[in-house]
Structure formats: C-alpha cells, structure tokens
C-alpha cells in the first residue's frame, strides 16, 4: 500500500528516471556518433521534464494573469522553471548544431562515424 501511494504521488519522477537511464545507456553504449547525439537529446529532454514537473501546482492555472482569476500566487503555476527551461531548449539546439558541425568534420577526415574505427585510425596515425 505504501508502495502504491509512493507510485501515485511520484510516477512522473519515476518515468523521468527511466528516460534518463535510456539516454545514459545510449550515450555510453551506442557506437555510432549520431546515435550518441540522439541519446544526448533524449537525456536533455528528460531533465527538462523533471524541471517542468517540479513547477506544477494542484489547482493552478497557466501563468498568464487574468482578471477573472485574480492575482493570488496560489492560483498560478510557478513560472520560474519555465523561464529556465525556455532558454535551456534554445541553448540545447545550438549545442546540437555545433556537435553536428564537428561530426561532419570527423566524417570528412575518417570516412566513418563508428567511434572504435575512429579511435583505431587515430592510433595508427600516431604510430
């Protein structure tokens, strides 16, 4: 019963942890560099979900102040994590752009995107 109660009050956190674990596994275990980038996006989005979940309030409305609802703070959702995540998404996309640029440079130099092949090629060039 305690476990069910815990699950009902925290299921969003649990699912977010599952998404984080999937993203971490992709970043560590997948060998293609573009797959690593995709799993980095999944990891990032799971963190955004965690923040937005922390901002919700029971009985709260969307954070646009309306005359009919009034200006009490208890009737609106916390807007501060929304601002942080709004800027975080845009920074995440520019990060993806720079990462794709590096990926193109790597592909032109080594003709592959497999990280072990790239590492072996680098070792050969060193010796």
């Amino acid at each position: 019963m305690v476990v069910l109660d815990l699950f009902v009050s925290r299921y969003v956190y649990f699912m977010t942890v599952v998404l984080l674990a999937i993203g971490l596994y992709g970043m560590l275990g997948k060998r293609n560099l573009l797959k690593k980038l995709i799993s980095m996006n999944i990891f990032q989005t799971a963190i955004f979900l965690f923040f937005i979940e922390g901002a919700t309030k029971r009985g709260g409305s969307v954070p646009v102040v309306d005359e009919l609802i009034g200006i009490e703070a208890a009737k609106y959702i916390n807007p501060l994590p929304h601002v942080l995540i709004l800027t975080g998404i845009v920074v995440g996309l520019s990060l993806t752009g720079v990462a794709l640029a590096f990926l193109l440079v790597l592909y032109r130099a080594y003709k592959t995107l497999d990280d072990r092949a790239i590492m072996a090629n680098m070792k050969e060039n060193l010796e």
Partner: protein, 81 residues
C-alpha cells in the same frame, strides 16, 4: 491535470525513446526523435507550460529534425548498432 493522460503520454515517450535508439536506419531514428519531441511538447502543454511547449514544438520537432537530416545526407545513413 488529468493524470491518466499524463501517465499514458509518459509511456508513449519511453516507447518512442527506445525505438529511436534501437533502429538501425538513422533516418528512421531521426523521425522517431521528432515524434518524441512532439510528444514531449504535448506533455509540457498538458502540465501547463505553454511557452515551453511552443518552443519545444517549433525547435525540437521542427528545426532539430531538419538539421539532423541535413547532416545525415552528408554522411552515412546506415548504422551498425
């Protein structure tokens, strides 16, 4: 705040993430990532964060997919794992 909708959207998110990581065709994986971003935007708007949902739907499901596909056409489409 309908909790059943929340719960099933999260289940769809996990399934889509697993699909995006397990496909060997990278173009299909990017399409799955775009679908993932769109479901995340739906979940944001369901949690009340409308601005974040707007920017996620335009950036994550729109431009991010375009950038990935451009990089994909200039490199290789198949992946080994």
């Amino acid at each position: 705040m309908v909790w059943q909708l929340d719960f099933w959207l999260l289940v769809i998110l996990i399934v889509t993430a697993v699909i995006a990581l397990s496909l060997k065709d990278l173009l299909a994986a990017v399409a799955a990532l775009s679908a993932y971003s769109f479901f995340v935007a739906l979940l944001f708007s369901q949690m009340g964060a409308i601005d974040v949902a707007f920017v996620e739907a335009t950036l994550g499901a729109g431009i991010s997919g375009v950038l990935f596909i451009v990089a994909l056409f200039l490199t290789r489409r198949r992946s080994e794992d």
